[in-house]
Symmetry: C2
Subunit: 339 residues, 2 copies
């Protein structure tokens, strides 16, 4: 069987308490003793049992990461970044994928993270008051990605501002009839972006004296297929838009497909701009609003860990807002077209 702390103590000729201290790098251990312990541990190929340590110390060295999806580019990127950031700090990542509405309900009812994590990251979910209350009951630090709320550590972008820049880009190109392909603002998973990106879209139009028109705002459900259907709806309008702002790149891809399938040109007949700067957007020659995904995830994780490190003395600004940037490609500017 695997070596235990007692084996190491015996081998090094010290007590188990000293082994524990030496291995964890605590102060007040003579260097010669520490060296002896380290050597014994190495020889026996010893690693402490995390569960025994967790039970004894009360610290789990684990962070729960809650996501609505994992097989979407944005979330995969987020999980990737959080995992490596946590591992640097010797924390484990336990993943919770909400999936559908039933999974979400189950999660908040059973609270499977109870007694098993030191902190929680919630990615891109707008929680209800009841859900926040359930979370608060745990008494753990919670980090919010993409949303903010008083009393929580959070990192996000300014979705409304980004959307506004996207639409202003279209306006500056002379477009005045601009469609919106958005998420369902009453979506069961209650994503944050749709609300804010829609707001930015409307603000940009109003800033140019254009009154937002309900018929120009259609649902794309943040999928490629949804974007296609939405664009078909927009193209079928009596007076069709000359430009489309999609609240995500994937919906924009779908829109481009619909436009081309209809025998029209991008951007000649209809210009398209997305949001995110998905890895495939350069390939698709899609103009978009770039958001720093990995940077946001890393920033949030580091700040959450530092809060764990120092106890609960709320320091530093609890909400960090990262910048987005306009990326102009061929889908709005023909002179930049790749093909």
């Amino acid at each position: 069987m695997a070596a235990s702390i007692e084996d190491v103590a015996r081998e090094a000729g010290v007590s188990i308490a000293t082994v524990s201290r030496a291995l964890r790098g605590l102060p007040d251990v003579a260097e010669t003793t520490r060296a002896r312990v380290l050597e014994a541990a190495a020889e026996l190929n010893y690693v402490a049992s995390p569960f025994a340590a967790r039970l004894a110390s009360g610290r789990t060295s684990t962070v729960g990461v809650v996501v609505p999806f994992v097989n979407r580019w944005f979330f995969a990127q987020v999980i990737d970044t959080i995992e490596s950031t946590l591992r640097e700090g010797a924390y484990d990542l336990v993943l919770y994928n909400l999936g559908d509405e039933a999974g979400r309900a189950r999660f908040f009812e059973e609270m499977p993270l109870r007694k098993r994590v030191d902190a929680i990251v919630i990615a891109s979910l707008v929680l209800s008051e009841a859900e926040f209350a359930a979370l608060d009951d745990l008494g753990l630090p919670v980090g919010l990605l993409g949303v903010d709320r008083p009393g929580y550590v959070s990192t996000r972008i300014d979705d409304a501002a980004g959307a506004q820049v996207a639409v202003e880009h279209l306006l500056s190109l002379g477009h005045t009839r601009i469609g919106l392909i958005g998420g369902d603002t009453s979506d069961p998973m209650r994503f944050t972006p749709p609300h804010h990106r829609q707001r930015g879209y409307r603000a940009a139009l109003e800033g140019s004296g254009i009154t937002p028109e309900p018929a120009l705002e259609v649902l794309g459900y943040f999928t490629v297929g949804g974007g296609t259907t939405a664009a078909e709806t927009l193209l079928a309008l009596p007076e069709r838009p000359t430009a489309i702002f999609a609240e995500s790149d994937e919906m924009a891809y779908g829109a481009i497909r619909a436009i081309r399938t209809a025998g029209l040109q991008v951007p000649g007949d209809v210009a398209v701009i997305g949001f995110d700067d998905h890895v495939h957007s350069e390939l698709m020659d899609l103009s978009t609003i770039r958001q720093p995904v990995a940077e946001q995830a890393r920033d949030l994780t580091l700040r959450l860990l530092s809060e764990l490190g120092r106890g609960d003395d709320e320091q530093g600004d609890p909400v960090v807002i990262m910048p987005t940037s306009l990326v102009v490609r061929g889908s709005t500017d023909p002179s930049r077209s790749v093909y």
Copy 2:
């Protein structure tokens, strides 16, 4: 503080041993007693501390999932599926993202899963003998996704056969000069697919009496950008290929871009077929070999869990090979072109 098993025992008027048995659904507990315990537990909002349970029982109820990447479509899909399958069985998923070669070396040296998981899933990695030895030292069941090896539970597709079908499709369309965009078979992450897909490519050619030509096999590194560069190399050949088989859809996307950028048509001048049936391939109108990603991940996970359930009596076929299928779209067949 959270309720402990003692609180429940007191509330229900039984011993903690009975609470433990009742809550875990063990037999030999009177139904009336069980009901009383369940009620007390519900009232106190009790859940057992997983760490205490793990320490006492030696079972961790956790599976480690090791991947070379998480932010790629294939792996995100795999993680998603494994997570939900594990959760059905009340197992936690602890994620290990190898990242680069240094991360891989660190992983096999430190073996961070030691003493913390009941089983391990290794996704799409070809391990060295030393790495397998390190894994075997753990004495845990290991599931292999995409690879197989005697003594291990595994689920995979027949990469060589799939690749052969792809190339035979091109041959059937009359192409005889067919380029290959592949992965580095000496890649540091030692992916499995490149070896086998290259083999299938060559077998198909030889089956038609065509001798594989080294100049027609170029590296695309399994990325869009790599596919672009690789295709540029192929197009610059004195006698350029009329068709390209890319070992992954993402490389195929890059190839399509390169072909169009060169002012050529797909499939008129150069036909392209990929491998995977990535979510965006329908959008890209790309012919491909579809592989059942979620099904493979789920099958492997279930079989691993069932092995955990029954102890170590090796039952059932340890290797499952799932079928791939040819999906013909506009990138090889102009009559199917979407645009």
